[in-house]
Amino acid sequence: MNVIGISAYYHDSACCIIRDGELIAAAQEERFTRIKHDPALPVNAFKFCLKQADLSIDKIDAIAYYEDPVKKLSRQLWCGADYFNEAFTHKMDPSKPEREIREILGFGGKIEFVDHHLSHAASSYYFSGFKSAALLTMDGVGEWATTTYGIAKDRSIDLFEEVHFPDSVGLLYSTITSYLGFGVNSGEYKVMGLAPYGEPLYIDKLYELIQLKEKGQYKLNLEYFDFIRGNTMFSGKLAELMGQPVRKKESELLKFHLDVAKSLQVVLEQILLEKAKYLHSVTGEDNLCMAGGVALNCVANGKLLREGPFKKMFVQPASNDAGGALGAAAHAYAKHSGNNIKSAPLRSVFLGPEYTNADIRNLLDATSLNSVSYETTEEMQKATAQRLAKGKVIGWFQGRMEFGPRALGGRSILADPRNPEMRDRINAMVKKREAFRPFAPAILEDKTKKYFDLSHSSPFMLETCQVVSEESLPAITHVDKSARVQTVNEKDNPCFAGLLAEFEKLTGCPILLNTSFNVRGEPIVCTPADAFLCFVNTDIDCLVLGNTIIDRENNNMEDLVNMVKSIIKRKKRTLNHDVYTFI
């Protein structure tokens, strides 16, 4: 049985394909269209998935869509959207997903609509490898649900309790994100990264915004919010409560902002811990599966696992809406075939497109740049490790692209974590982002304990832990001595593991700074050409495309840089990050 999963029309649209129980491919549409968080029907990702699975449209048994459009419309109507106003009709049309799947994708078979949070829950459970587990999903909002509690056993999922919109932990987090001057649906990571710089001085005030109720419930105090129908997340009362005006985007970050970020992180962790305890008490399960945008808060995840009641935890690596495609497909597959997903437990998210060395050679032949091509991967790894050891920042493009928001060694920017200037340099000159933002380490899995307080593998960079290394690792150690670790092994991620091993041979350090290969406001690179343009447009020292290396210092790139910069600037397209678009 072959099933395609689709998430679309909100943000981070994506497509995946399950062929006879095996997850063959998954990709976000933004990577192809180069529009960050692209919400459009994922036409390009769909075509890629079919090609990768070597299947034609007539061999697809079902398309699973990640939410119920009618339920979603009811919530939009409740929000006050005037469906009968022509301007809204097209946007909210509940028949749009089915119509466009038929007309644009050309699919004539069965379309299965899977509730938004069921898609999230399924995306975690079916790929966890757990026979049974408790389920916790949390995000801004799906149809009505914003949080769900459930239990899964033998391919069956029961979401037994929901918290409904407008009460939402995700929206609380996004509201404060917006209050702190960062974009909704994009700045939440920044707030999480900012938190360790602050003190939790505003916890009481934040608990004015949310009241915990019995069982899994909680309630937002809507006096402080305006996201239901307004153009901002918060009402004027929020600034009054906090005693400070809303921070203007890109303005100076004051201690107050850092303290609010810290307070928010603490509140989130407290809520998660309390609700996890409730979930554990009801289900009696030792395993926890999490998904939804809130599950991307790796700091809270780490705390939950360390201090919470569950022994094991699985967080779906693409926990945001993109991952909904995975869950919808897995749910439809399990339901109709009666079989398990073969790709569980999920060991790798290298599910995107890949390119050959010949593709790369052809690209570089068209350019004016000098490059060095190596016969073998080992030679390339050695040469790359040497450059890293010399303090170079590397754009690393290998194999298939990752699915989800994390770069895990397929489309990464890499650097020496021991270099004290590296974090500031990459933030400023390479990623072009805020100076406070931390970077994550990637480490050879069998060396983890020596450097980090982490007892298990963490291949998807989804939890933080303390740095216990004797050696100083300033570029990847956050201000609170934490780090968001990616463990890498030879079996699941051989090329990246090989590079780490070569770097260790040269330096004695089996760790590299690993961040996504993109600049602020742009999706992670997908093709060699995307990588090339990102390299040109930043201060990356060397670009490693497959077995070929381009060194900036060996090339005069001035003309190229000027042309690319001027054109990229003109092309920049973005979505609205001031408010969730509920309507």
Partner: protein, 684 residues
């Protein structure tokens, strides 16, 4: 949250999604749900800056200038390359010129744009105190021109010159018109006369409205106005590749295709009498198609009947207004007459270039001496039109004419490098709009003859177009962008279209031919490059990628019209091109369907390089098949795979909220669709 409200919203969502007619209940639920105070305030930010298109008002030393707004830089390419419009100086007579790409002097701009030339002529022949502000914009429509006219009051104009009419296709068509057209295509037989009448009326009505608004706008402003109506290149008129195919599908389509094939054969054999007879037959089957008129015009020209040829060619041009596929922009007689009549009604003076050129050519038809392509003018065309415009303006201002001698003496001393680049751009533009080899070759040769730098530009273009790499990263792009070609091309190609790759076969072959005539042999190099970049190997290649699709820009744009993830053919033929060696057989994986059935016994024919390879059955639903094609069908280099689809019997008449889409689907239904089209070499 109130449970009642949630229940109400759930019920309402259910009624809406089920397309319920229970309006009472819907209204009741709507009233329950309107408990929220106020409506969303919207994200619109009030823009209180005075703007004229890409320009915004800026105070410099207490004076108002209009400067290009960096925020609008994405649009700079279609506007004049002028950074600042200064305030009007005392004593100056300021003309503001609005218009489309012809008014921009496409392919010569910024050097010899009509506004520049008009100013030069007026300064020389009338007064040094005359200035012309250029506000011509490529692809601008009539409503945008009206908006610019309103905004340009901030420039303190004395005279407006509007040079427009080429972009007026499809204007003024109302929802009621679309309903009436839809009604006229019922029962499988299209009422062509009715369509003609509806669209003709729409153009006239729109022209009336345009001049009425213009009159209201300029009333009491003491601004003189001249409307220049463009002309079309009749001698080089060619129905484009896309337009040559079936335009609308009805009961006559089958026969129309058969007669068309016979006419093409007669044309090739030079049997003009037969061509005429068959062309008349084609017109009786579909009077709104251009091709038959083009053939009739050819026959008339051969017989020396210029006036008759003009009539046929103008009919051919008129018929492009009925096409739902992409056509070359340009004026037609229906629009021209509508503009003249409406302008007269509101007492606006006009200058009709048809008359100006006819007088200049002593009754001969306008051709490439005045035009670079279908509508953009040569330096000669610009000089003649702007001389006449200057004369009319002086007449409007003073009641007198400029002396003919002074106008005759005026010359554009053209730089050969600029001329060369313009010819090269024109060759490219003609190629991308599906025009014939002959005109493309002509401009390639002219470009090479005009200036030696053309060789480098052509070589760079060949490299850029033959590689998969996005143009933006190609080293040759840097040269082209900074050359005259890059500066003058505006609107012709867009190097920012990173992922949009196409084979450009017609243009590439024309360049190679023209270079060869100059003793420069690049065919082998380009062949090697194509083999290295695009050759079908043992890995699957997706023939639905734009590179393998038809070689003209308009074909590609037509392909994208329906925005499906799969290929939809709304004509009788689908063409694919691919590069291979002739050494190995090829396997093709094809998933196709024919959603609109044809006659039961008709098959889908697959040709490889004009040889029929196989015939496939019609399939209502997607069907996947694998075809193994022996190497004898292939040649080394570029190959063609063509699919002939059977004529759909029915018009797919649906009624949705999008009436234009309904009409397009009804008149140009899908003939065949392809979801998967992979190709790879077989290792025997």
């Amino acid at each position: 949250m109130s449970d009642n409200l949630k229940l109400a919203s759930l019920e309402l969502a259910g009624l809406i999604s089920g397309k319920s007619n229970n309006h009472n209940r819907i209204n009741e639920l709507k009233s329950i749900l309107t408990y929220h105070p106020g409506q969303p305030s919207g994200n619109g930010v009030k823009d209180d800056v005075e703007r004229i298109g890409i320009y915004k008002a800026t105070m410099i030393n207490g004076e108002k200038h209009f400067e290009r707004d960096i925020e609008a830089q994405h649009y700079f390419g279609i506007w004049p390359k002028v950074n600042t419009i200064p305030p009007k100086k005392k004593g100056k007579h300021r003309i503001v010129m609005f218009g489309e790409s012809v008014a921009r002097g496409l392919f010569y701009e910024p050097y010899y744009a009509p506004p520049v030339i008009l100013e030069e002529i007026l300064k020389k022949c009338h007064s040094e105190d005359t200035e012309v502000i250029d506000l011509a914009v490529s692809s601008v429509g009539p409503d945008q021109i009206l908006d610019l006219c309103k905004r340009a009051f901030g420039l303190e104009p004395d005279t407006y010159v509007i040079f427009a009419g080429n972009n007026w296709k499809g204007i003024g068509v109302t929802e009621e018109d679309l309903d009436a057209i839809m009604a006229s295509i019922g029962s499988g037989k299209i009422n062509y006369e009715k369509i003609k009448q509806i669209l003709g009326n729409a153009v006239q009505h729109f022209a009336d409205e345009f001049f009425s608004k213009l009159s209201a706008l300029t009333s009491g402003k003491k601004i003189d106005l001249l409307f220049i109506i463009p002309e079309y290149n009749l001698m080089d008129y060619k129905t484009s590749v896309v337009q040559k195919d079936v335009s609308f599908v009805d009961v006559n389509t089958h026969e129309w295709l058969e007669v068309k094939t016979k006419t093409e054969k007669a044309f090739e054999e030079g049997d003009l009498e037969k061509v005429k007879m068959l062309s008349e037959k084609l017109l009786s089957l579909n009077p709104l198609h251009s091709l038959a008129y083009e053939w009739l015009a050819y026959c008339s020209l051969k017989e020396g009947k210029n006036d008759e040829a003009r009539e046929f060619l103008e009919q051919a041009r008129n018929n492009t207004m009925f096409s739902l596929k992409r056509t070359t922009p340009g004026i037609n007689n229906v629009t021209r007459k509508a503009i003249i009549a409406s302008a007269a009604k509101y007492n606006f003076p006009t200058l009709c270039l048809k008359e100006v050129f006819s007088e200049h050519l002593k009754g001969n038809l306008p051709g490439r001496e005045l035009f670079l392509d279908y509508c953009h003018l040569t330096t000669e065309g610009i000089k003649i039109s702007m001389s006449k415009a200057a004369d009319r303006l002086v007449q409007i201002w003073t009641g007198k004419n400029i002396s003919p001698e002074a106008l005759r003496d005026y010359k554009i001393s053209a730089d050969p490098a600029i001329l060369a680049a313009a010819h090269f751009c024109a060759a490219l533009h003609n190629a991308h709009w599906g025009q014939g080899h002959e005109i493309i070759n002509h401009h390639c040769r002219q470009a090479l003859d005009s200036h030696g730098e053309t060789i480098k530009a052509m070589t760079s273009y060949l490299d850029m177009i033959s590689r998969k790499a996005p143009w933006l990263v190609n080293k040759e792009t840097h040269y082209l962008k900074n050359s005259n070609f890059g500066k003058q091309i505006a609107g012709g190609i867009n190097i920012e279209m990173e992922s949009f790759k196409f084979n450009d076969i017609v243009f590439v072959e024309s360049i190679l031919q023209a270079m060869k005539e100059k003793g420069i042999h690049l065919s082998e190099k380009i062949e090697d490059l194509r083999q290295s970049e695009y050759a079908i190997g043992t890995s699957k290649v997706d023939l639905l990628q734009t590179y393998y699709l038809p070689s003209t820009f308009d074909s590609l744009v037509s392909f994208n019209y329906r925005e499906t993830s799969f290929y939809v053919e709304n004509g009788s033929r689908s063409n694919f091109h691919f590069v291979t060696s002739d050494k190995l057989p090829i396997e093709i994986d094809l998933t196709y369907r024919t959603p609109n059935p044809a006659k039961a016994d008709e098959k889908i024919e697959v040709y490889v390089n004009d040889d029929l390879f196989t015939a496939l059955p019609q399939e209502k639903n997607w069907k996947s098949i694998s075809l193994k094609i022996p190497q004898k069908y292939f040649k080394k280099g570029m190959n063609n795979l063509r699919i002939h689809w059977p004529v759909p019997l029915t018009n797919d008449v649906v009624h949705t909220e999008d009436k234009m889409k309904d009409l397009i689907l009804a008149l140009t239904p899908s003939w065949g669709e392809i979801h998967t089209f992979y190709c790879r070499q077989l290792l025997n």
